[in-house]
Symmetry: C2
Subunit: 308 residues, 2 copies
Amino acid sequence: MPKILFAAPDLWDEYRDALPLALHQAGVVADLVLEADPETVDYIIYAPSAPLQDFTPYTRTKAVLSLWAGVERIVGNATLTQPLCRMVDPSLTEGMVEWVVGHTLRHHLGMDAHIVNPAHRWEQIVPPLARERPVTVLGLGELGRACAQVLAALNFAVTGWSRTPKTLAGIRCLSGEGGLRQALTGAQIVVTLLPRTTQTENTLNAETLALPARGAVVLNPGRGALIDDAALLAALDTGQIGHATLDVFRVEPLFAGHPYWQHPRVTVTPHIAADTRASSAARVIAENVRRHEAGEALLHLVDRARGY
Amino acid sequence: MPKILFAAPDLWDEYRDALPLALHQAGVVADLVLEADPETVDYIIYAPSAPLQDFTPYTRTKAVLSLWAGVERIVGNATLTQPLCRMVDPSLTEGMVEWVVGHTLRHHLGMDAHIVNPAHRWEQIVPPLARERPVTVLGLGELGRACAQVLAALNFAVTGWSRTPKTLAGIRCLSGEGGLRQALTGAQIVVTLLPRTTQTENTLNAETLALPARGAVVLNPGRGALIDDAALLAALDTGQIGHATLDVFRVEPLFAGHPYWQHPRVTVTPHIAADTRASSAARVIAENVRRHEAGEALLHLVDRARGY
């Protein structure tokens, strides 16, 4: 009977019912514990907030299963040599798609002028159709791909960009450095859903923020570090960027007095675009344990060289 | 060569280029005029704003082709005995879907609390997933059906209601009087897209507004008369209805000082949810002329008994 160490004590309340249920439903009989002699642990369920930082003594551990989609705070840990799996929670993708599509339509339709309209102006400015609105999604991983596809299904003129070439039906796919400039040029809405790596830091900077159409909107539900904050604020001040709706920040919660709180062209959402739901995340964890015990390949294995 | 009277002079500027082009592209050779001896007119292109009100002298007219989707201001005209066709403009449907899906996601995600957040509160209230959000669409005509289907594709738990029974994949379809009560009961977002007829007036009234979940949202991009305004304002005051986002009103533009402008739980959008675009509407008109001249059935013929 495999021993599973739940090494994210602050999340135990959320998972105490969901995990045993999911393991049972996956047909896995396991010993789920909150503490254990490291040498006896077969699987570690993990979050970056966990006190466990030295993986060296976990000599028989077959996999570290992250409860978080982002693993940038884990991959740098040199003691973690065991196979590491990211969380790819279908409910997380659903929530992300809802946030991205919702805020894309909000800006596309110009809703803010109706939500806040103290002068009670009746101005019949009919927005263009989605098919006339170029939207660029940076990052075509699990989340970026899902968002791009739903936006395209809503008729938006979607361009997707990824580091390595990809092909997606109904989406203009670009890749590489030159492709990035091309993907941003003329975009009216830019969505950043890249993983956080040393290469993706400050993808939106003074130079790249000059490429979209004047007054373009930036939506960042990805990672705070994808954007050079000073460059974005400067572009908002000149009107080159018309609005930024940001869900993630370099330091969270966003501190009181941060320029993003003050700026009239910035909307802050408090890191809610995609939240892992315990019930569905527990099913992903249980399925990976089941697979490994049955001799099948682990799902969502992190590529250490790429960092995600 | 058929003679087509363009009887909506205030719209001529929009259509003067689009109509000849669309007729040409449909292979129709016609005489498009702004004035004519009534007895010589084969087709009338019409809008309710037109000065032409007496159709009696148009003895040879084969069809009256409306530039508007709604024909409630036309069907009551007893002199109009010629076949009457509504406008079913694909771009109108697209625009409507964008408005309905956008405002549904806005309320679903609780965006307003982030768009207007003067205290800079960082409150991580994660919304439920769309699959947990019951949305009811009243009316399953061209527009209601399209909206219901896209909302269902975004995973919303969609109930559709129509006067006569309909079946739509992925949507719980109800009909008739009893079905209306069932469709509204427990709904968290209600979208009204019924045609305006004597039967649909005040569909949302004191009694029916009590049925949705407490704090439910009403979206009305259909017709102003579908809602009993006093009953809606009362339900907003008690909190039974949490918010109303209204695009259409009994009298437009909505007059200054109207309670809807003042109410903190009402968003007014200035009849922009669906706008007929001249280029695509002209193609619909041209196609109907082409069909009738070729002996084919007219599209979008109004059923006088039903009134739409």
